[in-house]
């Protein structure tokens, strides 16, 4: 890690004014004894934050889920709800309130789809410049410059819908940089991207911030990949901040992980040349694929985006019917049902035999309370109410969520939602578990908990299938591998 050199002069004359800091002059950020408490919460989201970020510095702000990173970022961006939050201490951007410095702020958030406005790439970059009232003839040179700065590979006319996640996120970054922010805030900008997409975005950030015309603060619980391109690493911990020295490395999430071993069992579910093509589509979403799920073992399905990994998960889970080939349950799994093909089973029969965890947990929640959410599957599969409630309580206890039993699933943090979605699938004790990217965007603690939970299921004779980009997960858990 290096100390920042003097900021270089911007290559085009500055045009955007802004409350704090003029364009092209990096901002200085100072926090002294900062604390934030959200309305209706008893605990402080953030306390004792002391931090000075010098102009042009690139700082990584890391910490576990729920440590208060997002709150600190919202405070820096000046978007903390004034009535909804109680703030103590001091936080300034270039000596003034963050709210007043918003003209010089650049913000890159997680989800590219909720940041793009226009239908074409160039128009989207121009959007922020139009808002700043820049004359039209000055806009396009700056659009081209910003697109080049992030290494955007297409022309201005490229439809935004035709871009991959990583490309979209690079485009959003170009739109942010075109405004020449003095403070650039990146909020887990790669959390929703596959590894190649994430690498693209980090490369674009490295390239675009190399001239130090903006002070850059990256917020991410996954510190490792950012280390080569930041000057300092600061970790948010309960009660304040810890500054990590040069050479610091995040602890490995697999270190000291002891998992119960796989047990060899019979085949429970098999796909024989099963493929899927959407109606009217000329190319198959999944070409004919053969796979076997064995009791007590984990199958890891890997491969780049667009090869049909998630589609295979839907076929194995009995949620879609294959358009070619077959998916068949072994007699043991299909006991009590007349048909061998899971997609023909009624939902109530399916839920006690195959548990599925989707990529986005919030799409799976059906009730307004955690307790009801966990009891739902057992009730649907025909269990008695008392038994279902007992199962729900046991799972809440096991996952450390008992304190939230009455809470609405939507109000949980990302990591808690993920654990809950896995727990709802386990509630009916299915013999087969199918999970799509279960560790996506999770911090180290949640990661270890999920992996342990899955290994326990494997040890009790469950057949586990995971679709994933996560090489650590494959390393820790996979007994069989299928690369698409």
């Amino acid at each position: 890690m290096t100390t920042p050199g003097p900021p270089e002069a911007p290559s085009l004359p500055g045009v955007l004014g802004g409350g704090g800091g003029s364009e092209g002059t990096p901002a200085r950020v100072v926090a002294r004894g900062l604390g934030v408490r959200h309305a209706s919460r008893r605990a402080w989201a953030l306390t004792g934050i002391d931090l000075v970020v010098e102009p042009g510095e690139r700082v990584l702000l890391t910490g576990a889920s729920g440590a208060g990173k997002s709150t600190l970022l919202a405070a820096l961006a000046g978007i903390l709800d004034a009535e909804g939050a109680e703030v103590t201490g001091e936080l300034t951007v270039d000596g003034g309130e963050p709210r007043g410095a918003r003209g010089g702020l650049g913000l890159l958030a997680q989800d590219p789809d909720s940041q793009l406005v226009m239908t074409r790439a160039g128009d989207d970059v121009a959007f922020g410049l139009e808002n700043a009232g820049l004359p039209a003839d000055e806009i396009w040179p700056r659009v081209d410059q910003a697109l080049a700065a992030v290494g955007f590979p297409y022309g201005r006319d490229r439809p935004t819908q035709a871009l991959s996640g990583g490309e979209k996120q690079r485009l959003v970054l170009a739109g942010v940089l075109a405004r020449r922010p003095s403070l650039l805030l990146l909020d887990e900008p790669t959390a929703q991207l596959d590894p190649p997409g994430a690498a693209l975005v980090r490369a674009a950030v490295a390239r675009a911030t190399a001239d130090r015309t903006a002070t850059t603060i990256v917020v991410d619980h996954d510190a490792g990949p950012w280390l080569p391109l930041v000057d300092r690493v600061v970790e948010v911990v309960p009660g304040g901040l810890v500054e990590h020295g040069a050479g610091w490395r995040p602890p490995s999430r697999t270190a000291g992980l002891h998992l119960p071993p796989a047990v060899d069992g019979p085949v429970l579910l098999s796909a024989a040349a099963a493929g899927f093509t959407y109606r009217g589509s000329p190319v198959p979403a999944l070409p004919p694929t053969t796979a076997q799920l064995r009791s007590g073992r984990t199958l890891a399905v890997t491969g780049p985006n667009g090869t049909g990994k998630s589609t295979l998960a839907l076929l194995l889970a009995g949620l879609r019917a294959p358009t070619t080939g077959r998916v068949d349950a072994a007699a043991e799994l299909a006991a009590g049902v007349r048909n061998r093909e899971p997609h023909r089973w009624r939902a109530g029969e399916l839920v006690s035999r195959i548990g599925t965890v989707f990529q986005h947990p919030e799409q799976q929640f059906l009730t307004g309370r955690l307790r009801d959410e966990l009891a739902l599957g057992p009730l649907r599969s025909g269990e008695h109410a008392t038994a279902a409630r007992a199962t729900a309580e046991a799972l809440l206890e096991r996952l450390g969520l008992t304190a939230f039993a009455e809470a609405n699933p939507y109000t949980l943090s990302g990591g808690q939602q993920r654990r809950l979605s896995v727990a709802t699938a386990l509630a009916t004790a299915p013999r087969v578990l199918v999970l799509d990217e279960p560790t996506f965007g999770q911090d180290a603690a949640t990661w270890r908990e999920l992996v342990t939970l899955l290994a326990e299921q494997r040890a009790r004779g469950c057949a586990v299938a995971v679709v994933t980009h996560d090489t650590d997960l494959v390393e820790a858990l996979a007994d069989d591998r299928l690369a698409l």
Partner: protein, 252 residues
């Protein structure tokens, strides 16, 4: 919603007409079609609109069907209901009403099929002084529609995975659909507020007068397009009056 999700076909000849000229023409057509109850006027107008289909790039029957089936369904049911239920309405009146629905809605289909929504927002804000907050806000929201369509399917499958399925019971089906729509709405509101934050951070609606990088220019062809529409409508009315079919709605 489906025709919105289809998106515009870019680079068509009709697409080169400025969106405000298209809207003005739609205004003229609407006025004329709503002022009489005969069958001749809408027949001429619809015939003229059909002549514009090739210019809108809608030549394959498949494309045409995908964009117009809700409209055709609506038009035929309006015609049929009037013929069957009204005592004094004959087959001719029913056909006239059906044609009128087609004549009113087809220009909208043509506009959506040929116009990049961004150009529409540009034209509305620059020529008609529509608020930029409204126009570009609506534009951003429009981008989220295809995402909702894709999400609907995931949420439906996720419910089956949780053991929730309607089967053949229509009441259960309606309840399930209601639940899915609610889940989608919650997601849409959350995504919408994230989008608003992102737009805000890029200086949207910050009080500075917004400029427009693309501009929106009115050409002679735009004036000709509106004039042509007026001529066709006048011809339709003249023909209707001459054949004695004219049946004005506003009789003093």
């Amino acid at each position: 919603m489906t025709s919105l999700a289809l998106g515009p076909a870019l680079g068509t000849r009709l697409g080169r007409i400025n969106p405000v000229a298209q809207l003005a023409a739609i205004g003229v057509v609407t006025l004329v079609l709503l002022s009489s109850l005969d069958v001749v006027t809408p027949a001429v107008v619809v015939a003229a609109e059909l002549c514009l289909l090739p210019a809108a790039g809608l030549t394959s029957p498949r494309d045409l069907w995908r964009r117009t089936w809700p409209l055709l369904l609506g038009a035929s049911s309006v015609g049929l209901v009037n013929v069957l239920l009204s005592e004094d309405a004959g087959v001719i009146t029913g056909v006239g009403l059906g044609l009128r629905v087609v004549g009113l809605a087809l220009p909208g289909v043509l506009l959506v099929a040929t116009t990049d929504p961004v150009r529409l927002a540009d034209a509305l804000t620059l020529h008609w002084r529509v608020s930029t907050r409204f126009a570009y806000g609506a534009l951003a929201a429009l981008r989220l529609v295809p995402l909702l369509v894709a999400e609907f399917e995931s949420v439906r499958l996720a419910r089956r995975a949780r053991g929730v399925e309607a089967g053949r019971n229509p009441v259960a089906r309606a309840r399930l659909l209601g639940g899915i729509v609610f889940t989608l709405l919650v997601g849409a509101v959350r995504r919408g507020s994230r989008l608003a934050t992102a737009m805000d951070a890029r200086g949207f609606d910050s009080g500075i007068t917004r400029t427009n990088a693309r501009g929106s220019h009115l050409h002679r062809r735009d004036a000709a397009f509106v004039a042509g529409t007026v001529v066709v409508c006048a011809a339709a009315v003249a023909l209707s009056v001459l054949t004695g079919a004219w049946d004005p709605v506003f009789v003093g």
